[in-house]
Symmetry: C2
Subunit: 335 residues, 2 copies
Amino acid sequence: MDREGQLVEKIARAVPSVSARKNFRGVPLGIGDDAAILSPHGRTDWVLSCDAFLEGVHFLANAHPPDSVGYKSLARATSDLAAMGATPRYFVLTLALPSSKVGKWLDAFLAGMGRAARTLKMRLIGGDTTRNSTVSISVTVLGEVPRGRALTRSGANPGDLVYVTGRLGRAQLGLDLIRNKLSRRRELQNSLTAHLYPQIRVKLGEWLARNRIPSAMMDISDGLSTDLARLCSAGGVGARIDSSRVPRVTIPAGLSRSLKKLKLNPLQMALHGGDDYEFLFTVPRSRAQRLRRAPGYSEITAIGEITRSRRILLIGDDGTASPLASGGWEPFSHK
Amino acid sequence: MDREGQLVEKIARAVPSVSARKNFRGVPLGIGDDAAILSPHGRTDWVLSCDAFLEGVHFLANAHPPDSVGYKSLARATSDLAAMGATPRYFVLTLALPSSKVGKWLDAFLAGMGRAARTLKMRLIGGDTTRNSTVSISVTVLGEVPRGRALTRSGANPGDLVYVTGRLGRAQLGLDLIRNKLSRRRELQNSLTAHLYPQIRVKLGEWLARNRIPSAMMDISDGLSTDLARLCSAGGVGARIDSSRVPRVTIPAGLSRSLKKLKLNPLQMALHGGDDYEFLFTVPRSRAQRLRRAPGYSEITAIGEITRSRRILLIGDDGTASPLASGGWEPFSHK
């Protein structure tokens, strides 16, 4: 067997996968041939998304554990499926690595990716491996949703309530800790989790789609202020957000001076921090009552409402409104 | 609109695509949302493959025209679909670029990719864009094939005839010209085409699958010697190849000394050169007669036969057999 073949076998052993030889339901052919084959039954829609995860851009080779790189590269791509209300099913992986990372680093990477695949109940069905001077990962994910039920960005209407899940800015805190070399402190480990191993709310997404609750939905990957602007732009609407209601990261109390020196601002982190992979969605008032039956309802917060005016306003504690400018991470803005 | 949004619009204008707003047959939602939506009708199989195309690995930023980078990144991924007998339909693109390449370079890249998409009758349905220090491209392609008819690597049987399309080693010649800075010579332009703008034999692949002619098929991306070993390994068989019958690149005649100095060996280039994207397939003798009706039959050559012994042998002009070792390009073998 050639080296590429050996590498493919290594990946297939570490990550739940469909090989070329076993006939898995709906997948007559998986990894190991020119392409994978899917036999969809034609009663559901399929949802497809891809995501790049690059050394030096999305993670730092010497600061991020390879286990997290593997976990997060799959989880963040899958977040796009969950935010459409789809059930994640399959993924294909392009993986470019320097030869120095083919040993221990790759093993840990695959262990993390395998854990994400098991948690998200996904299987690898194909890929492409190559050498490169830096680690370059691209993941394409496929999910299934009842026909016509996928949740898109574009349906928000004036008067709809705006909701988010979880507490925002948690991933930003983890990144700040890593950037300031505080990531090894034992008491801060919990604060790293959202950044290193983001949880994807698959069950909630499925429930919302099946029950047709949201008028629009997306995941928050580049920060609330940036992604809310995208959702509003797609719907031709605006929004008023109540700053006091935005659920935000808790800064660990009783901490060392070094953390205090960072002067972290939880509201700013919640508004502009990226990488949270929480949901942002809008719900017509007539359906708001039904939302209470959602799985994990206690982690859902109403933060404002959609307006006819296309402006996006943040209402401060004193009741004054100011424009909420997009501040999240954007490609090509740094170099 | 944010910068990522502007970039996505630029891509969608340059490349045939399905946007989030027009409902294209079978694609209720294209680029611009979290994910694309497909509504397969359940009467065909879908074939899925992904391919990385990286600066410094698959192309050189200062030697390869951006138009070729765009064309080839889509064409080579699509070759995997054609080699399964599928009709190419859609693709998603992850594109990472330094900001220095967002202007003219990107325009030319997109023009090339657009040309490939029109030639191959494919539409872009989604993607992810990001900044990076080097150009890093990953393309996932989707194609459709009559249910159960996809051609795989694994079905070759002893006695089957081995065929290839085209003349092999042509892409290697183009690469050699570029490496030796001979790519600007006017009389050599034709010799560059196979390397820069590989043609994908979609029609032949479709015909072969629909008529169930081959017992096994794949594309030759890493060289005949490497890919034949993969096909034989997948089928648990071996092969005897008649070296005199291997169709090979023509070295341009009457050329400058600089080209002669390269001492190019057409047979070696045909056996081990990569990037040709021609087909390699096997046909039971009982179906060989029907192959004559294939579109482009004149470009199909029988080069040997499949054997029960798992060895892969090359029969020389004098009738002696020697093992044919895999010599094609392999990831991770260089650094």
